[in-house]
């Protein structure tokens, strides 16, 4: 069974998460710059004495494809490496992947991870 692990993290935690996952033997990940809000609901910045709200805060979405055997380890690794304990640390979720194909070789399923 192949899983897709998706995490939303603080941009500055990327290095630590990436190093953690590499240490775990994860062979690849995809990073996308995203914006969004959660319980924090944005924050206030000030410009020349006037306040303004940034509702959608820049975050990174990282996606890792892995086998079901290691999915718990991957989740725990992201949790511990992206953790600051402050609001806005993000979330991790996992979905089943129906099919997987490596474009270069044509390998299918777990071989393509």
């Amino acid at each position: 069974m192949i899983k897709l692990v998706t995490a939303i993290i603080k941009p500055q935690m990327l290095d630590s998460v990436k190093n953690g996952l590499q240490g775990l033997g994860v062979l690849g990940l995809t990073v996308t710059e995203v914006k969004g809000f959660g319980r924090q609901g944005g924050h206030t910045e000030t410009y020349r004495g006037a306040e303004y709200t940034v509702d959608l805060i820049p975050k990174l979405r990282i996606e890792v494809i892995c086998d079901i055997d290691v999915v718990d380890k991957v989740m725990e690794c992201i949790r511990s490496t992206a953790h600051t304990g402050k609001i806005g640390d993000g979330k991790v979720w996992v979905v089943d992947l129906e099919r997987l194909l490596r474009i270069r070789t044509g390998e299918m399923g777990p071989d393509a991870i």
Binding site: E45, Y47, Y52, D55
Partner: protein
């Protein structure tokens, strides 16, 4: 119109006086010497403006060579080290640097009051504006070396102290008539390779050591990692502006509009271009295999810094040699400081500190009058060595104490969280590059309305 009338009546009055008292009229006649005095004042004031324009060059260079997330912070540091530094120099710095006193510091002309110094026939304001531009140059060099991790509050205090105390004392030693200018073979630092640039570079070195490297500068195995700046166009434009400003820095230091300024501009140009060329070739052939843009930019500045001491004392060929050697020295210095874990994001320590020292020593070799290579013996080289060592040691100790005090009191470095997020929002409230407010980001009613589309 009013003015023309006033002129006409003044001319009329002058005519009347001339007919009435020819002797008096002769006294009012403008002599060639008067014209020369005015010319000198105009030239030095224009030079001062060019040197102040270098602040724009430093701001762009440092912004370009660092990351976007702290760009507002580095711009603010450049803005404030000029403003706070200029006030400190006005209040006490100028008196310490140029006021009459002992061989080590001056003691006259506080707030440009009684006893304020003026050079020859230059007026006090012209002399001061020219010198405050130099003080600001020494101060602003440090912001790059301490970029991306320094508390703004601490940097603000630092810029007052260097412009008000540390830099003026060094200036007094030589340009203020102090002990360096009284050695048997007088010290030669024409426009400030050591007095201005090395002072900034050494202060930057002490600051960078006190701070420690940026998070992520060194890999787990200790190898230095490149952290690319966010805008090479900014950096190169900044370097070009600095080059232009240097035509005020060096020729202006002649302090007169005379026949020497062209030759000084020539040596300045040749050293700059030679420095850029040799740094590029060093990178291309020996280090990275490619002509590195950021390092070549540093090479141009290294050539300029190095020729600043000897720009009036060396030949054209000597200038090419000094600039060319500085271009090689700067590459070695950047690599060296990276290796010994002194994180200098823009290379200020190498460009200004190392090449400032190198350029000052090189005068002892290349000066056409008294240089070792021109049969002048080692006396001048020895003097230069004494000066560089004394200035370097003085700044290292005083700046070291200053940064240690700041570290122990208000703190020198921002929190890890702030450094990772970038300094802009937490230090100053807004990012340097704020995203345009769009439909997804509503402005609060607290400030002014942002856009009618949003309503």
């Amino acid at each position: 119109m009013k003015r023309r009338l006033a002129l006409a009546s003044a001319a009329g009055l002058g005519l009347a006086l001339m007919t009435a008292a020819p002797a008096m009229a002769q006294e009012a006649e403008t002599t060639a010497a008067d014209v020369q005095v005015n010319l000198d004042n105009v030239f030095v004031l224009v030079s001062a403006v060019l040197v102040i324009f270098m602040q724009a060059g430093f701001a762009l260079l440092e912004a370009g060579l660092t990351r976007a997330k702290s760009v507002a912070n580095i711009m603010m540091k450049n803005l404030m080290d000029f403003c706070a530094g200029a006030l400190a120099f006005f209040a006490i710095g100028y008196a310490i640097a140029f006021g009459s006193g002992n061989d080590f510091f001056g003691w006259k002309g506080w707030f440009l009051g009684d006893g304020a110094f003026n050079y020859g026939t230059l007026t006090v304001p012209v002399t001061f504006i020219f010198q405050v531009a130099f003080a600001a140059t020494a101060a602003t060099i440090v912001s790059g070396a301490m970029a991306e991790r320094t508390k703004f509050k601490a940097y603000f205090v630092y810029s007052m102290v260097i412009s008000g105390l540390i830099y003026p004392v060094v200036v007094h030693w030589n340009w203020g008539g102090g002990w360096l200018s009284q050695l048997d073979t007088p010290y030669i630092d024409f426009a400030g390779s050591s007095i201005v640039h090395m002072v900034g570079g050494i202060a930057g070195l002490m600051g960078a050591i006190a701070l420690g490297p940026r998070i992520g500068k060194y890999a787990a195995n200790g190898k230095p990692r490149g952290i690319p700046g966010h805008s090479i166009p900014f950096a190169v434009l900044g370097a070009f502006i600095l080059l232009v400003g240097w035509y005020g820095f060096n020729p202006g230091s002649e302090l007169a509009a005379d026949g020497a300024i062209g030759g000084i501009a020539l040596t300045t140009t040749l050293a700059a271009v030679a420095g850029a060329l040799t740094s590029m070739l060093t990178m291309w052939w020996f280090v990275g295999g490619k002509p590195d843009v950021a390092m070549t930019t540093n090479g141009l500045l290294a050539g300029l810094v190095a020729i600043t001491a000897g720009c009036a004392a060396v030949s054209s060929v000597g200038a090419v040699a000094i600039g060319g050697l500085a271009g090689v020295v700067v590459v070695g210095a950047v690599l060296f400081f990276d290796r010994v874990r002194v994180d200098d994001p823009v290379g200020a320590i190498s460009v200004h500190g190392v090449c400032g020292a190198f350029g000052t020593l090189a005068v002892g070799l290349f000066a056409t009058d008294g240089g070792l290579l021109y049969g002048g013996g080692a006396a001048l080289l020895l003097t230069q060595l004494i000066g560089v060592t004394a200035i370097g040691a003085f700044v290292a100790v005083t700046a070291g104490i200053l940064f240690a005090l700041l570290k122990g009191t208000i703190g020198l470095r921002v929190s890890e969280e702030e450094e990772l997020a970038g300094l802009d929002v937490m230090e100053h409230g807004t990012p340097g590059y704020a995203p345009d407010l769009g439909p997804g980001q509503s402005p609060t009613p607290v400030g002014a309305p942002v856009s009618p589309v949003m309503a």
